[in-house]
Symmetry: C2
Subunit: 406 residues, 2 copies
């Protein structure tokens, strides 16, 4: 079987790791920052060298296309080039670089294809500079209002609109990906979790993106002096919060073992070592592919007593999303190609959200995962061995060609 080039793959990884290099093995490449524009410039330069035609839309999404032999909708592959602060060299960029390598293989090996093949770079997937995450795929699929997004500000007060106009990458709204001109998206991404590595699998066949809920709990007690308030008079919101967290863990652990739940953020007020905490807030993120399990989670939340350790307890849903199932035929192509290359693989759902999840609402989409060493992601330690990147590129290439042939 045809293989992408490991040398070229390595060169791409090394080259792109310089844009925003923190000097500690990772990158800070916030959306539309000078570092992100350098990465875009390098991407476009390489696409032009391959004879690809480049368009950008009004959200600065980049579409680099190899023409097809027939007048048919295009097949897309790609991801994003932006990172979080002190992020790694694999999240997002690996989806772009494997797509670029697959395109380069098609061009250099002169592999015939009926459909145009497009490598896409989505703008501002991370939402690390301008909230929210998956902004541009969200705008073109109608999830977010463009006007609201344009007003989103970074910490320096620069709006997304200003950054977009200054980038040189803002194009015409008519260039947006649409269901008439595009027939598929395949997004390769690092897993950002430990499962593939632990299960010794090369390829994750992503069946969909799990549904999730995000709640915020508030415990309200009374801020009294740590030295002068006997224990029996206290209303300690932090102690009450630890009781709620303990209860949630205990109850959730009785549900399906694929459920993941996280109390990631906690804040106490006044948060002074000599004052009993008056208000403690914490978040609860819970994810599972089966809506029935999510329903059980919500039922457990609703059973938390409204008074705990003399403190008032309340909660509210911050947001939620339903489980997204990817396009079965493409999911099967990924599995078939992993098998044909004799790469070990497993089916799984994505816990994190990705651009493909929004795009799948308007065109058939799927994803390919490759392992993340120790499950690290969104940090400088993020790492995927070169061999795994190549394997991912190969499966991506063959999946695009399968879609082309169908």
């Amino acid at each position: 079987m045809i293989s992408c080039s490991i040398k070229r793959m390595e060169d791409k990884i090394v080259t792109f790791s310089k844009f925003g290099d923190t000097g500690r093995g990772g990158i800070t490449r916030l959306s539309l920052s000078p570092e992100a524009l350098e990465a875009r410039n390098e991407f476009c330069k390489r696409c032009k060298e391959l004879g690809m035609e480049i368009k950008t839309d009004d959200m600065a999404n980049i579409y680099a296309t190899i023409p097809g032999e027939e007048d048919l909708p295009a097949i897309m592959m790609g991801s994003h080039l932006d990172s979080v602060v002190q992020g790694g060299n694999y999240d997002g960029v690996m989806g772009v670089l494997t797509a670029l390598e697959a395109a380069e293989t098609i061009v250099t090996e002169k592999i015939g294809h009926r459909h145009p093949i497009t490598v896409v770079v989505w703008t501002n997937e991370e939402g690390a500079r301008f909230e929210p995450a998956m902004m541009s795929s969200g705008v073109i699929t109608g999830k977010f209002k463009k006007e609201v997004m344009l007003a989103s500000k970074d910490t320096k007060g620069v709006t997304f609109k200003e950054a977009l106009e200054a980038s040189g990458y803002m194009g015409d709204i008519e260039n947006r990906m649409n269901p008439n001109d595009y027939m598929a998206l395949v997004e390769l991404h690092v897993e950002q979790g430990p499962v593939l590595e632990a299960e010794k699998k090369d390829i994750g066949i992503v069946e969909g993106v799990v549904g999730m809920i995000n709640y915020e709990f508030t415990l309200t007690g009374q801020a009294d002096h740590a030295g002068s308030t006997p224990m029996k008079y206290r209303k300690d919101a932090l102690f009450a919060a630890t009781k709620v967290i303990g209860y949630l863990h205990e109850e959730f652990d009785k549900l399906d073992s694929k459920l993941v739940y996280t109390t990631g953020r906690i804040t106490a007020s006044p948060n002074i070592h000599t004052v009993i905490p008056e208000v403690v807030k914490f978040t609860l993120d819970a994810r599972h592919q089966d809506p029935e399990v999510i329903k059980q989670v919500v039922e457990i939340i609703q059973k938390v007593p409204s008074e705990i350790e003399k403190c008032q307890m309340s909660f509210k849903e911050l947001w939620s999303r339903k489980t997204i199932a990817f396009y079965e035929e493409y999911v099967d192509f990924v599995e078939k190609n992993a098998n044909e290359y004799e790469y070990s693989s497993m089916r799984l759902y994505s816990g994190p959200g990705h651009d493909a999840q929004y795009i799948s609402d308007i065109i058939p989409s799927t994803m390919i995962f490759i392992p993340s060493e120790n499950g690290h992601s969104h940090c400088e330690k993020e790492f995927t061995p070169l061999e795994n990147c190549l394997k991912g590129a190969n499966v991506l290439l063959q999946t695009i060609l399968d879609i082309d042939r169908k």
Copy 2:
């Protein structure tokens, strides 16, 4: 028995509540701020009207003295005029205003006394603008190095030295309170806790200040993605922290019921709702008058396992202080006078620290507590009924006169 004037007491409270008035029932009167200087000016004006002699020392502590009939060391009473941000109208200032009222009663009623009687205002008790708390009583009793204190900065970058020099209240180092020229300090203070109110007592006879320890615990896990990390692979530092807090509560609750302990401050990192907490730190403040109980607390802390829920646990002592016992004879005078006025009273230890605790190291000292409504303090809701302030002033006056006669 002679009584202070409730009308004058009320006037003092009303007048001083204007300096730094937040408009919501409280004050923000940070040390040496314009508002604090207004309060000092008003204090000095009133002292001068009573014919008192005013001196300030190099830390801007104010000493306003009624001469005595004999050449003897002075008896001091007083507290501080500074507040925390959005503090109340009673903490500190009530010790100054009751002392001023006691002095005014001595002057206007022409009560004879052998010793000079000094009303003192300590600079920067709160440490809310310039850390640490009890700065000036600490410097003159050798707890803190003056040079280090002078370099302490507020949030705007102003040093304590600059604020001191600009205040107009910086005097000579020779004016510092010293054991040759002073023989007693009696500090009245609001309780800042709920005990007197709950026990329906007018006067707290303060036997000393409880010993305390302050520890910081650190739980270290691993920051992984909330969506892609199965529960069995997680090292959740927040979950581990809740287990430690639960364990500490359970074990400490077996110790003496007068023990108070507080986990007042908690911080999680990275503190993002979609990331498993990697590092969680929380403080533990524990106080008891008996060193043996504090020792038991430390033994419990030392038994916390170093690995909890797959996270590493460590702790360190941030600081500690030993129990301070006040001067027994003066403590007894307070009790006797509460009884003679037929005010209900009880003996107790102070949980919070006060200037008198440092001063007691070099001259015999004691304190008088008056109730805090609902135990509120360091907040705008802080309140003590006028009648209770008057009762405190009366006991203070008689205690000063008892010390004078001995």
